[in-house]
Structures are given as structure tokens and as C-alpha cells.
């Protein structure tokens, strides 16, 4: 077992013995499930209306259910993922195990990557459980699977970005609440950059600002567009956040 695997195994163990994962996971699944139910009911109501007016109804579940659901999930992730990441470094610093970790023969790279991977695995597990919804809907209706798969790809990439921001925020402080707040703050700013970008219009600055926000990149994927530009955005921002976390952890030793 390599040190990275050892760290992943240990962090997963810590996640699943604490109540945090269960609380966060059940709230996440409950809200996503409830939203999905509501969108399906609305779609049903619309279908009945169309039937009465036109006699027939062609329902597009992709537009009426899944695109809305992917848009809402984005916001739910923004709130709950920082709660999963907040303990990663802040707790080590608070409980004085940070010194132990940094004096063991493991590179800071490996520590950062190990911690990120562990919470990423937890996130993938939770996301996987939401997959039950399209599977169940597929039993009773017809829809296009392609945008759903790219939408899930979008959620995976978006989640990875959110988690890496959370790792960075957790490395900055020994207070978990502060860590969660800082990462929610950074993510909201990244979100609002999209609004600022469209305010600036179709200028070079406006486009640059919009590019910095995850909104349009995620929207492309939800709409079924897989563009290298968007993938580059997600991967480069992930690497940048993990690199910054590395620098922060490294500099914490000097104080």
C-alpha cells in the first residue's frame, strides 16, 4: 500500500465513523430526490394540460426534469461539499496531528492528493446514489441518455472543483467553521463572476471574467456539449487549487 492509498484509507475510515457523512449524505439525497420528484410532477401536470389542449403530448424529460435538476444540484453541492472538506486539514491542525503527518516520510503532494481523493470518493458515492433517479424514470418513460451522462460528467468535474476549493480553505485555518465559510465564499464569488461577465457584455474582459466562472462550462456539459475548452477549465482549476493547497500546507510549517 502506497502512502497515498494509506491516507485515502484512513480518511475514508474517519469519514464513515463520524456522523458528518451520514448527515450530509442523507440531506443531499433527500433534497435531490425531492426536487426530482417535484420536477417530474410538474412535467406530469404540463403533460395533462397539453393533452387537454392539443389531444397529444410529447414530453421532453431532458428539458423538463433533468436540466432543472442538474441546475439545482449545482447549488446544493455548493452548500454541502464545503461541509465534507472542512475537516481535512483544519482538524489535523487543531488536534496536533498535523505535525505528525508532516514529519512522517510522506511528501506534501501525497498528503494533499490523498486527502482530496478520499473526499472525492465519498462524493462519487453520493452522486452514484442519485443515479437511481434516471434509472427509475427510464422504466416509465423515454428520454435521451446522452445529455444525462454528460450532465453527470459535469457534476463530477464541478464537484472535484468544489472539493479542491474546500481542501484549500481547510488548509488555511484550524477552525472548521471558518474553513467551510471560506470555501462557500470562494465558490459564490466564482458563481457570481458569471453574472459580472454577462454585465460586461461581449468584450474581451467580459468573456475572460465569464470564463473564470464555472457556470458556462457546467451549462455546456448539462446541455450535452463536451468541449475541450470546458474540460481544460475544470482540470486546470483543480490542479491550481491543489497546488495552492500544497503551498499553504508547506507554509504552515514556517509559522
Amino acid at each position: 500500500m502506497t502512502p497515498v492509498q494509506a491516507i485515502i484509507a484512513k480518511e475514508l475510515r474517519s469519514y464513515f465513523v463520524s456522523p458528518v457523512v451520514y448527515a450530509v449524505g442523507s440531506v443531499f439525497l433527500l433534497i435531490v430526490g425531492l426536487l426530482g420528484y417535484l420536477y417530474v410532477v410538474f412535467a406530469g401536470a404540463q403533460a395533462i394540460q397539453l393533452m387537454q389542449m392539443q389531444g397529444t403530448a410529447q414530453l421532453n424529460l431532458n428539458d423538463l426534469v433533468f436540466r432543472n435538476l442538474f441546475a439545482s444540484t449545482r447549488f446544493i453541492l455548493l452548500i454541502i461539499l464545503p461541509i465534507l472538506t472542512m475537516r481535512l486539514f483544519a482538524e489535523e491542525r487543531k488536534l496536533r496531528t498535523f505535525e505528525f503527518l508532516l514529519t512522517s516520510p510522506v511528501g506534501i503532494n501525497e498528503i494533499v492528493v490523498g486527502k482530496f481523493m478520499s473526499v472525492f470518493i465519498v462524493f462519487l458515492g453520493l452522486l452514484g446514489l442519485t443515479g437511481l433517479m434516471p434509472l427509475m424514470l427510464a422504466l416509465f418513460s423515454d428520454f435521451d441518455w446522452y445529455p444525462i451522462l454528460t450532465g453527470y460528467l459535469g457534476l463530477v468535474l464541478l464537484g472535484a472543483l468544489f472539493l479542491s476549493v474546500g481542501v484549500l480553505a481547510s488548509a488555511l485555518t484550524e477552525n472548521q467553521i471558518v474553513a467551510a465559510f471560506v470555501s462557500i465564499g470562494i465558490l459564490l464569488v466564482l458563481w457570481l463572476l458569471a453574472g459580472l461577465g454577462s454585465l460586461l457584455g461581449d468584450t474581451a474582459v467580459g468573456q475572460a471574467v465569464s470564463y473564470l466562472s464555472f457556470m458556462e462550462h457546467y451549462d455546456h456539459l448539462v446541455r450535452g456539449l463536451v468541449d475541450t475548452k470546458d474540460l481544460v477549465y475544470f482540470f486546470s482549476s483543480l490542479v491550481l487549487m491543489l497546488f495552492l493547497s500544497h503551498r499553504v500546507v508547506d507554509s504552515a510549517r514556517w509559522k
Partner: protein, 326 residues
Amino acid sequence: MIEVQQITKRYGQHTALDRVSFSVAKGEVLAFLGPNGAGKTTTMRILTCFMPATEGTARVAGFDCADQPMEVKRRIGYLPETPPVYQELTVTEYLQFVGRLHGLSGKTLTSSMQRETERIGLGTVQHRLIGNLSRGYRQRVGLAQALLHDPQVLILDEPTVGLDPKQIIEIRELIKNLAGSHSVILSTHILPEATAVCQRVVIISGGRIVAEDTPEQLSARLRQSEKISLTLKSPAAEIESRLKAVQGVQNVFTGGASGTFLLECELGRDVRDEVARLVVTSGWGLLELKAISMTLEDVFLQLTRHEDGLAPDAVVASADPAGQLT
């Protein structure tokens, strides 16, 4: 095995360590003695590559702490001041994690864990969550963590804090047994501990090394005069001048209780015989006569207090056995 040369550590304006140099030979146990905030933990953190020194070099087993930290970290077992344990893991899970970080696996890992569990007496608690263990057991788990990969060098920051007397004796025995095969640095402010387990003592105060020697030689070196305590049943009025007249007696102080006197004598001269004769022939009723030897505590207090402008005589008061710290 450990060489520290002219290490200085500054935090902004504050100098935590000021040109500290010392070395530890293979198999030697060195005690780091000093009041709180003296720089013990800072020195240890530099040696374990947790933080870099501002100036100077530290080498462990021939590797430079600044240039080859991985090589150094592999050879060091470190127990920080607070045992670095994860409360949500069981003792076995925790040791497994530590071993894997050190690259142990399979049979080596199992046998190392077995060895330390037995050696440190964790057998009865190995399947319990660390969060539910007492302070003493957590400290032991921390120690097992430091020893798990059988390092050449052990750095222990106050290893017996929080243990009960029986455990303290066990851990001291353990450290003594490690001497010879391992080089050990341990910091402590419990002085008998240094005398009990260490061949050499470094006293550090205000970021500087103020003394370095064996415990015995330190106390011998710092003794500026022989002191004798004398208790009499019926002391006469002119007793002080009569005692002073004895060859070799430099000073006579009256002690706290009536009939006790403290005699300061020339170094290297035992005047007990003459004093006893004088007391007996004068009929003052000799109750007690004893030489006061300086304990390491007195040395420590003298060295670390000296900077505050306290006279070395202040040590005399603490030489009273009843007032000794344990």
C-alpha cells in the same frame, strides 16, 4: 548520529533559538532540559524537518535536515508534546496507518505492530477507539507510533507527561533499554527523569544552551562551596562566631527553625569532623549534621534563573529536601 551546528531560529523579531550546537552519539540518550518556552520544542521541530532553521545546519544520520528531509524523516521516530493520535481510529488501525506511511506492509507491518504492542503494553486496548482511552494510554500509543518503524533516532518531547508513576518507571526502563541501539533525545522539565535515564544533559534557557555535561558533573561543576546543615538542641549565644572560627568555614547562616545552621565552607574541604568535635565539646547537643549536595534541580534553577539576576544563594532554599519537586 545527530549533529546540530549553530542553529538559530527567528520568528519575526523574536529569536527562539540562538546559535545552538550539540551532538548526540550513536546509542546515547540526551536530555533536553529547560523551562517552558526555552526552545526545546523548536529544536526538536527543526531536527524532525517540521520547520527549517533560520541559520545553521542540523544533520541526522549524516543527512541534512534542510536538503534531504525524506531521508531524515525515515530515520527518525518522533513523539510530539501532544500525542498525535486520531481519536476515531482504534489502536490497531492507527498503528497500521502509521506503519503504512513509513512504507511498512504485510508481515513486516504485522510483526512491528506486535512488537510495539507488547513492548509498550497496549495489548488490552488494541481494539478500542483511541478517543476512549485515558491520557496515559494515548501517550503510550504515541510512543508506539514513534517506535514502530524501528528508527535509529528517537526524539521524544516530554514522553512521560500524563502517565502515572508506575507507567513512568516503565517508560523510563524502556528508554534505557533503547539506549545503545538507538540515539535518543528527550526533553523534559522533570529533573529526576534526566538523571534517571540520560547519559548527558543539555540545559537550555532563553534559546541558548547554558550547560552541557553528565548530570553528576554538572552538579559538581556548579557547586561554588560545600554546604553543611547543622541542627543543635541547645545552641549558645556566641555559636556563630565559634563556628566561623573553625578552619575552612566561610559563612554561617541561621536556618529557619531554631537551632539550625547552614555552614558555607571552602570548596573541597570537609569540615564536618571538626564541627562535630566543637559541638560535642561545647555541649550544644548535636542532633543532625549533614553535607548538602546540589541536586540537578538546584543546578537547573541556578542556571536558568541566573539571567533574572537572582543570586546563586537562592539555590540554598531549594536544597531543602522537603521542597524538592518530583
